[in-house]
């Protein structure tokens, strides 16, 4: 296997929420992302995936852990060195209505990374690059002078993508880029992202809660729950042979757009809601809703280990589940 582009090691991000309480949004996750792949990070609200994405590109300072890129731990870099690296790390945000400054014309929005890093010599060069980027995402020159509110959600998201591509990054974190869009537009954006990946050799960290879409676009997928990574495997493997009870429940909860299939499925319905990530216990985070929970699960954090080739699970009873001997 090739060298990973990015290695995340034991990443933690805690927030102080006052009164001595700590919100452990990300509590020790480790994984690699290989060049040219799309790594999907899924989970429900509060699982920490968005925080993880933002911490990985150092939008937030981590509480602990390392992210290794090009042999260096990016958290140890100085401000100037970090700025150099930033050209390689970009982000696409969820809300196409909030991620573009309503007072700036599209041209300035897309050119902002170029302006910040002073990456051009003449205004003409800047303009040409902006037009090139617009075309890359399927828009055109006449859109450059308009303002964000004149565009639809899908178009705005494309502007956001154009902005992210301005500095020719290697790695893009896509933080729920399609959640706020209509179904038919989601497909548009996903197809665009796939095309760009092929043409420009990009690597993606794709964060989403829509599991069907994640399965479609990702090569490997990691499932997060309450700050911990529960399972990690290739897309094929995860969706066809999920091991972790949470993954199984998650997959069974997704409705399939086919009435016959959907109504005849065996569904696992979880009890209760997702608990709070504030001051969690030192145990398996899924223990309160897991149908296989034992005492051990209540006391000990399960180890995240490779249980099959390239398939990682954090569950005390994973072996039983694989063998089918679990009750």
């Amino acid at each position: 296997m090739a060298e990973p582009l990015i290695s995340v090691r034991n990443l933690k991000k805690y927030f102080d929420v006052g009164r001595g309480k700590t919100l452990k949004a990300v509590d020790g996750i480790s994984f690699d992302i290989y060049p040219g792949e799309t790594f999907g990070l899924v989970g429900e609200s509060g699982c920490g995936k968005s925080t993880a994405g933002r911490t990985i590109i150092r939008l937030y300072e981590p509480t602990d852990g390392e992210v290794i890129f090009n042999g260096e731990n990016i958290y140890q870099l100085s401000r100037n060195e970090m700025n150099r690296i930033r050209r390689n790390f970009q982000m696409i945000f969820q809300d196409p209505y909030a991620s573009l400054n309503p007072r700036m014309p599209v041209e300035d929005i897309i050119a902002e990374p170029l302006d910040i890093h002073k990456a051009y010599k003449s205004n003409k060069e800047r303009r040409d690059r902006v037009i090139e980027l617009l075309k890359l995402v399927g828009l055109n020159e006449e859109h450059a002078q308009r303002f964000p509110h004149e565009f639809s959600g899908g178009q705005r998201q494309r502007i956001g993508i154009a902005r992210a591509l301005a500095l020719n990054p290697k790695f893009i974190v896509c933080d729920e880029p399609i959640s706020a869009l209509d179904v038919s537009i989601q497909a548009q954006i996903v197809n665009l992202l796939k095309e760009l990946q092929k043409d420009l050799g990009l690597t993606y960290l794709f964060i989403a809660h829509d599991l069907s879409m994640v399965r479609y676009i990702s090569d490997r997928v990691g499932v997060m729950y309450l700050g911990h990574m529960m399972e990690l495997a290739t897309s094929e493997e995860l969706y066809s042979e999920p091991i972790h009870p949470y993954t199984q429940a998650l997959l069974s909860a997704i409705p399939i757009p086919d009435p016959e299939v959907q109504r005849n499925r065996h569904r696992i319905i979880l009890e209760g809601d997702v608990p709070s990530p504030i001051d969690p216990e030192d145990n398996c985070r899924f223990v309160d809703r897991c149908r296989f929970a034992t005492d051990r699960c209540r006391k000990e954090v399960p180890e995240f280990r490779e249980i099959k080739k390239d398939h990682f699970v954090a569950c005390h009873r994973a072996d039983e589940i694989i063998k089918g001997t679990i009750n």
Binding site: E44, S45, S152, G153, G154, Q155, D182, V183, S184, I185, Q186, A187, Q188, V190, N191, H209, L211, S212, M213, R215, Y216, S235, E236, Y239, A249, L250, L251, S252, A253, I254, P255, I256, P257, D258, P259, E260, V261, Q262, R263, R267, I269, L270, G272, D273, V274
Partner: protein, 334 residues
């Protein structure tokens, strides 16, 4: 037994400073007792406006009923006064919304809100109402209902709040429940719970449900019939089975193709629909899907196609149905 709800040629527009925006442009459909009808479409297609106009919840101005009728249990809602509507809302027709945080009063305890609803519609004494409120919370599977009734909305999670909304909506056992994107804002595992709950309630009380959503999976799970809306008009209608298995309208087909399914092959590509939905200010004269349709014909631009029935329950509005179109489309079916 007559139809519970019958909408006839409903047209609703908004008067804005730059002109009229025609949100709903002449739609007709019905809902029978005990069934779930899904109203499917993307943002801007008019489905929310339709729902709100059945409840007469639109601000009038700038909205106005341009034409058409809404018959509920035989009476035309469009003609009813606000006072008459207040008797119907929450009593015979209830609505639940996408974001329960904004539809619940954050400064009032949850139990109190339900009690108020009960007293308003049933005239029970306060103690009786309190008991019933706890019963309702229990019905929607809120654990420890007595304790929870004394809490404020912000102390509930999203899924719990939605359950409270459902409890509030079911307080007087309405004939019709309009659910406007009830699970869109919820996590997938919670969504499954809420959908299950809604099915249980429907089984128990025989409530009719209009389910407004853009999630085709939810539609496949819950609905008996499906209505597809686009650009303020209805494109296709049929039983769930008919729509999913034999979609006739290009938009419906494309919609189904653009949704990735858990059980599909990953190497299949996702079909997307280029472009964006039409602006309903100066809406197009012909078929609203013309600009984005792969199979569009010259006639589609300026002429709106009529309904063509494929079975008793399944129709679509598309020029491809026309006999003269058969020649042009032969051999180019997807």
């Amino acid at each position: 037994m007559g139809k519970l709800l019958e909408v006839k040629d409903l047209a609703v527009s908004f008067q804005t400073y730059f002109g009229e925006v025609e949100a709903v442009r002449g739609i007709s459909f019905h809902v029978d007792r005990g069934e779930t009808v899904a109203l499917v479409g993307e943002s801007g297609c008019g489905k929310s406006v339709t729902a709100n106009s059945i409840m007469k919840l639109l601000p009038m101005p700038p909205a106005f009923y341009k034409s058409g009728q809404i018959f509920f249990e035989g009476e035309d809602i469009v003609k009813k006064s606000e006072k008459e509507m207040q008797k119907i809302r929450g009593d015979k027709i209830s609505m639940i919304f996408q974001d329960p945080m904004t539809s619940l009063n954050p400064t009032m305890k949850v139990g109190k809100q339900i009690v108020e609803g009960i007293i308003k519609h049933h005239g029970l004494s306060k103690d009786e109402a309190k008991k019933k409120a706890i019963e309702m919370l229990d019905l929607v599977a809120v654990p420890q209902p007595e304790k929870r009734a004394n809490q404020y909305p912000h102390e509930f999670s999203g899924g719990m709040r939605q359950r409270v909304m459902i409890a509030l909506a079911m307080v007087s056992n309405p004939e019709l429940l309009i659910a406007d994107e009830p699970t869109t804002a919820l996590d997938v595992t919670v969504q499954a719970q809420i959908l299950d709950l809604m099915k249980q309630i429907q089984d128990k009380y025989g409530t009719s449900i209009i389910l407004i959503t853009h999630d085709l999976g939810v539609v496949a799970d819950m609905s008996d019939r499906v209505i597809v809306m686009y650009g303020g008009k209805l494109m296709e209608e049929g039983t769930t089975h008919e729509i999913f298995k034999n979609p006739k309208h290009p938009y419906t087909r494309k919609l189904l193709d653009s949704v990735p399914r858990l059980d599909m092959d990953r190497s299949e590509s996702l079909h997307s629909i280029a472009g964006t939905p039409p602006d309903l200010y100066k809406p197009p004269k012909g078929c609203p899907f013309f600009e984005r349709c792969d199979e569009a014909m010259i006639i589609c631009k300026d002429h709106m196609p009529e309904k063509e029935y494929h079975t008793n329950s399944h129709y679509s509005c598309c020029w491809l149905n026309h006999p003269m179109a058969k020649g042009a489309t032969e051999g180019s079916e997807i």
